[in-house]
Amino acid sequence: MSKDYSRYPHQYPDATGHFGEFGGSYIPPELQVEMDKITKAYLTISKTQRFIEELRSIRTHYQGRPTPVFHADRLSELVGGAQIYLKREDLNHTGAHKLNHCMGEGLLAKFMGKKKLIAETGAGQHGVALATAAAYFGLECEIHMGEVDIEKEAPNVIRMKLLGATVVPVSFGLKTLKEAVDSAFQAYLKDPVNSIYCIGSVVGPHPFPMMVRDFQAVVGIESREQFLEMTGELPDVVCACVGGGSNAMGIFSAFLNDPVRLVGVEPGGRSLNLGDHAATAAFGKPGLIHGFKCYLLQDEQGEPAPVYSIASGLDYPGVGPEHSQLKDEERVSYGIADDRETLDAFYQLSRIEGIIPALESAHAVAHATKLAKEMEHGSILVNLSGRGDKDLEFVTETYGFNMEEAEQKLSL
């Protein structure tokens, strides 16, 4: 291990939001003034006992935490090799890990006296979680979402509307997550005094990558304790899918200082040609997007590349700055699961364990089964970051009800 993580997470980022050469704050000065206010508020308010106690109470009584760690016995037996354990973030209220940081951000907004939460969403998970937080705290909520994703993730759009949020369709560019971020930023800049921007992952300018990670750290803290109690030892591998990387940072953060192999799983999409995947850490090079430096899929001119994944929540051309640093330090390795492997895991986990995973999380499961086969024994803890209800219609209509049907569709 090259770096010292003994006081993690306090060591990273530095005071100006840098994780090594990554992160920072590449934004216009008007926006910087607001970011400075959020940073200052976060660093003071979130350390007060009042804030901590309220958030803990929310975690227990509202979110239903801690979520369990579950030994996927039948899957492990079927796959052979290492034992696979699942951190059941799909059982977190609203069905994904996203609520962990949304409740934190909502609580911060309340303490700061903000009236409105603004964010983008890809798969709709972050949007639903933020709309939930807004409803809980009695705040207004405005969610920006690409038209392509609105179509694909209809149930989440309905949820957001039921929760009282305004869903703003984004109709330019590829009409997915990247454009939704642009649109949400624009909306936030119109009224930064009364509103607060709640980014959906460990991305964006300082302090978001730090703040979202800190609110997601509960996943790692819980699962480390749970795993120790269940097995008497630490897992050999911790594995999580990475789009922007919030669920992965959440679970990794508790294990950085342990002799545990950490594996992020990126979407390999249709192929490894630029435009067909979103494997940013694997194929990107350093660049800037949405106010921070990170590995970025881009063309030789510096224009962010179009990206694709079967999972709407993973198709982002950048990746969290801390992931970028952890990759450079080789503390975390980044694997790839393509659409086919992901679908296979999606169907398999549903049949074998009775757990329908989100397509995002199915990437992590897919890669974990590959790792399990390679390992003769040992254990892999997978962050099952969300449940698949939102994907049911899309998957069954596009690919059918099992892998045999899906193979036919995929070979077309």
């Binding site: 100006t16 590449y26 926006l31 030789e300 510096g302």
Partner: protein, 264 residues
């Protein structure tokens, strides 16, 4: 010559300078050429040539769309350089600057990008998402090359921050006149006088006031308080609605009566 000097020289001839902006490749380089011809013919002092980027986080919806439409046509950074060289050669009376987002510079490498910017005869660069804290090498290189590196003031900047920022840039200081992104709101904020006074107190560099100026009255109001008025989205909207031919009369109208030598 260094840009600040050039601007001060020009200010001996007229009370306020004018900077315009366009997005390269929107709607086409051919239209850009027609627009620039008219801007130059009507006495525009500086022109920002924006190299399109798909995530222009400091720009409002009008310029955002122009960026994305331009990219859809397949324009390249190389074409922008070639075009900028042509313009700089043809219109030596205009000070051209590149405006773009930092990843475009970063992808090419600061040294290459700035070196070539100097070589083709541009006066400097405006990179709105590169604060001085992150842009130390960019600022240093710009100084070495004699290129203007434009820094920003905003109404929410403290005076101490203004002094700190202005001390690091050169050419002029871009004063954001209103809250938020470009192209919004139509009236100059009433507190602009106090704000520009604060700006003036923080730097000896010329002040360019931008983000939303669209009328002759706006420019008259600025005269005496700032050295340069910046027209952004107004000309883009004009080209959208009436075609490139409308730009000349619009600029002429903005400057009519304000081009006399300063009363001294």
């Amino acid at each position: 010559m260094e840009l600040a000097h050039e601007l001060h020289n020009r200010l001996e001839q007229k009370p306020i300078l004018l900077m315009t902006h366009l997005v390269l490749g929107y709607p086409s380089l051919e239209d850009n050429r027609l627009v620039i011809e008219q801007m130059a013919a009507n006495g525009v002092d500086c022109i920002e040539l924006q190299i399109p980027f798909s995530e222009p986080i400091a720009d409002g919806p009008v310029i955002l769309k122009a960026n994305q439409d331009s990219l859809e046509t397949g324009i390249t950074v190389e074409q922008c350089f070639t075009f900028a060289r042509e313009m700089a050669d043809r219109f030596p009376q205009v000070c051209f600057l590149f405006m773009t987002y930092y990843n475009i510079v970063y992808a090419q490498g600061e040294e290459t990008f700035l070196g070539r910017t100097r070589e083709i005869g541009l006066w400097g660069t405006i990179i709105p998402d590169l604060p001085p804290e992150e842009g130390q090498s960019y600022l240093q290189l710009s100084r070495e090359l004699g290129l203007a590196a434009i820094t920003f003031f905003t109404p929410t900047s403290t005076s101490a921050r203004m002094e700190e920022v202005a001390g690091q840039g050169n050419g002029f200081v871009y004063c954001v006149a209103r809250k938020g992104v470009t192209g919004k709101q139509t009236e100059l904020d009433s507190s602009i006088e106090a704000y520009l006074k604060r700006c003036k107190g923080a730097t000896a560099l010329p002040l360019a006031v931008g983000f939303g100026i669209s009328s002759r009255a706006d420019i008259d109001r600025l005269t005496g308080m700032a050295e340069m008025a910046v027209i952004g989205t107004a000309t883009i909207k004009l080209v959208d609605e009436q075609g490139p031919g409308a730009v000349g009369p619009f600029i002429a109208g903005l400057l009519a009566g304000s081009c006399q030598p300063a009363a001294e």
